[in-house]
């Protein structure tokens, strides 16, 4: 215990700094992923053929091991002198988040009770009004579940991004492994876990805040 206390005394500010880096990387990636994934998921509900194709591609993306995807990013982004560091990691994380976000948006809206949709059309709502007033509000719990999956997943994957110099809590773990330093490995892992738990809890709160009681039940 004493050793831990000493370790934290020396390293706590660095751990906090890396945690913030980690959170910023993941938040930015998720933010951009939402801007792409949610409109795309909504659009796909109107185009069955494209939906199947896009969801297939998104599924395949998710099967690529993260270390391999980061590896592939290096030569591609080297072309614009950004081969390692923040940019390739950020792009990889955006790609990884697409599947849960697109799929949950798509299924959430597709699964809105067809009678409700029928009533909305029959009452004279335009497509946009129907989406904004009926379909999205009623699909919100499913969409938010996708976002939460993406966030928690990305917090984990971003650890690997340390290998391509993107910083974040992965730095502690990779250093710990190469120096055979268990303190670094364990503190890095715990910080990642806590970050994931907190992020998920915050998103759940946001979800509850914006979902009408009637739908949440």
């Amino acid at each position: 215990m004493e050793k831990w206390a000493r370790f934290l005394e020396v390293n706590s500010s660095r751990i906090l700094e890396l945690t913030i880096d980690h959170a910023i990387l993941v938040s930015l990636a998720i933010f951009v992923a939402l801007l792409i994934g949610i409109p795309l998921g909504i659009y796909l509900t109107t185009n069955q053929y494209l939906a199947d194709t896009v969801l297939q591609i998104a599924s395949i993306t998710l099967t690529i091991p993260s270390i391999a995807l980061f590896g592939v990013m290096i030569p591609i982004f080297s072309l614009i002198n950004q081969g390692i560091g923040f940019v390739p990691a950020f792009v990889a994380l955006v790609l990884y988040s697409q599947l849960p976000i697109i799929r949950n948006t798509y299924t959430g809206i597709k699964n809105v009770n067809p009678e409700m949709r029928d009533a909305a059309i029959g009452m004279g709502m335009k497509t946009r009004q129907r989406l904004l007033r009926v379909e999205i509000p009623n699909a919100l719990p499913v969409i938010m579940a996708g976002v939460r999956t993406a966030v928690v997943m990305n917090i984990g994957i971003a650890v690997i991004a340390a290998y391509i110099g993107a910083g974040g809590l992965g730095v502690l773990i990779t250093q710990g492994i190469s120096r055979n330093d268990n303190y670094l490995i364990i503190s890095g892992s715990i910080a990642v876990a806590i970050l994931a738990i907190i992020a998920d809890a915050i998103l759940l709160l946001i979800q509850k805040r914006f979902t009408k009681k009637a739908i949440a039940e």
Binding site: N113, E115, M116, D118, A119, A120, I121, G122, M123, G124, M125, K126, Q129, R133, V134, P137, N138, K212, K213, A214, I215, E217
Partner: protein, 330 residues
């Protein structure tokens, strides 16, 4: 007024869902589309607000061919009620009811007044229920809300697709009565889909009986019961159609034709029945209770006579069977 002029809907060459349907719903009347499942009644209803396309023929709504109207505009002018009520769970009762007025851009005050008026129409307190969500209401209340939501922007025409189908018989009966009461006040032109014969007889000014997309008969309920045009119609209404037709007659009709029995003051604990009650209910009341008579009360709540099974039978013989046998001979 809604006129169907030789309306046909087909899918490809072979399948004809609606086959040359031609009839008119008069202003302020209820026409019930009745028939077995798959006969095309819902399709026909949904053709009016352009949820289904028309292959041939035209539907004219209050003088305008529906094809010439913008579907969005058209739908906002037509009240639409569906079986599962289709209330939006993310909106409060007030938001649900005031949806079409909102789409039409009514101001707050006008919406508020309309909402209060409509809620009073169905006997629910606007203050209490306005802020609630649909899941907090009973099935019967939700269906009532579904009906007033369709009435919200005061559309001249209403389409009702088995609106009371999901309710239990007791509540359904009550809501049907209530709806007829409202209809007497609002006098909408209504097209109503049902598969329930009793409901059709009760609600309809006229019934369209459909089979495989064709009209089998278009008539008033009593005509249809008394003079079925063909085998299908008489079979559809069943062997007990004489009893069914009792629901079209009231105690008052019976009094006018054969008169009521005298009130016997010595009999205690007899049930009473209102003079406007229909004879089918009266008959089941007589059959369900042990006494052989019920006392008839008029509007002033005075006892004006009694009714017995014998009297109902006599009336049935006179009025209904007489008409039916006449039609069979003819």
């Amino acid at each position: 007024m809604i006129s169907f002029n030789h309306v046909t809907k087909s899918f490809g060459e072979k399948i004809t869902a609606i086959d040359d349907v031609d009839f008119t719903v008069e202003e302020g009347k209820i026409v019930v589309l009745l028939g077995p499942s798959g006969c095309g009644k819902t399709t026909l209803l949904r053709m009016v607000n352009q949820l289904e396309s028309i292959t041939k023929g035209e539907i004219v709504i209050n003088g305008e061919n529906s094809k010439d109207l913008d579907p969005i505009e058209l739908r906002r002018k037509i009240g639409y009620v569906i079986q599962s009520n289709g209330l939006f769970p993310n909106m409060t009762i007030e938001e649900n009811v005031m949806l079409v007025p909102d789409l039409l851009g009514w101001n707050k005050k006008k919406k508020r007044e309309r909402f209060e008026y409509l809620m009073k129409l169905i006997g629910l307190d606007p203050k209490d229920y306005g802020k609630r969500y649909p899941h907090e209401l009973s099935g019967g209340q939700q269906q009532r809300i579904g009906v007033v939501r369709a009435l919200a922007a005061d559309p001249p025409v209403m389409l009702m697709d088995e609106p009371f189908g999901a309710l239990d018989p007791i509540i359904r009966d009550k809501i049907q009565e209530e709806f007829l009461q409202i209809q007497r006040e609002v006098k909408k032109t209504i097209l109503f889909v049902s598969h329930d014969i009793d409901e059709a007889i009760k609600m309809a000014d006229k019934i369209v009986l459909l089979r495989d997309g064709k009209i089998m008969q278009f008539d008033t309920p009593s005509e249809m019961l008394a003079h079925p045009k063909n085998e299908f119609v008489s079979q559809f209404f069943g062997k007990d159609r004489a009893i069914k037709s009792l629901s079209l007659h009231t105690v008052e009709n019976l009094r006018e034709v054969i008169g009521l029995g005298p009130v016997d003051e010595s009999i205690q604990d007899t049930k009473t029945i209102h003079i406007h009650q229909d004879l089918r209910n009266t008959l089941s009341m007589l059959l369900n209770q042990e006494a052989d008579q019920v006392i008839v009360k008029d509007e002033q709540d005075e006892n004006i006579g009694t009714i017995t099974i014998d009297l109902v039978q006599k009336y049935l013989h006179f009025e209904i069977k007489g008409k039916m046998s006449a039609s069979q001979e003819g």
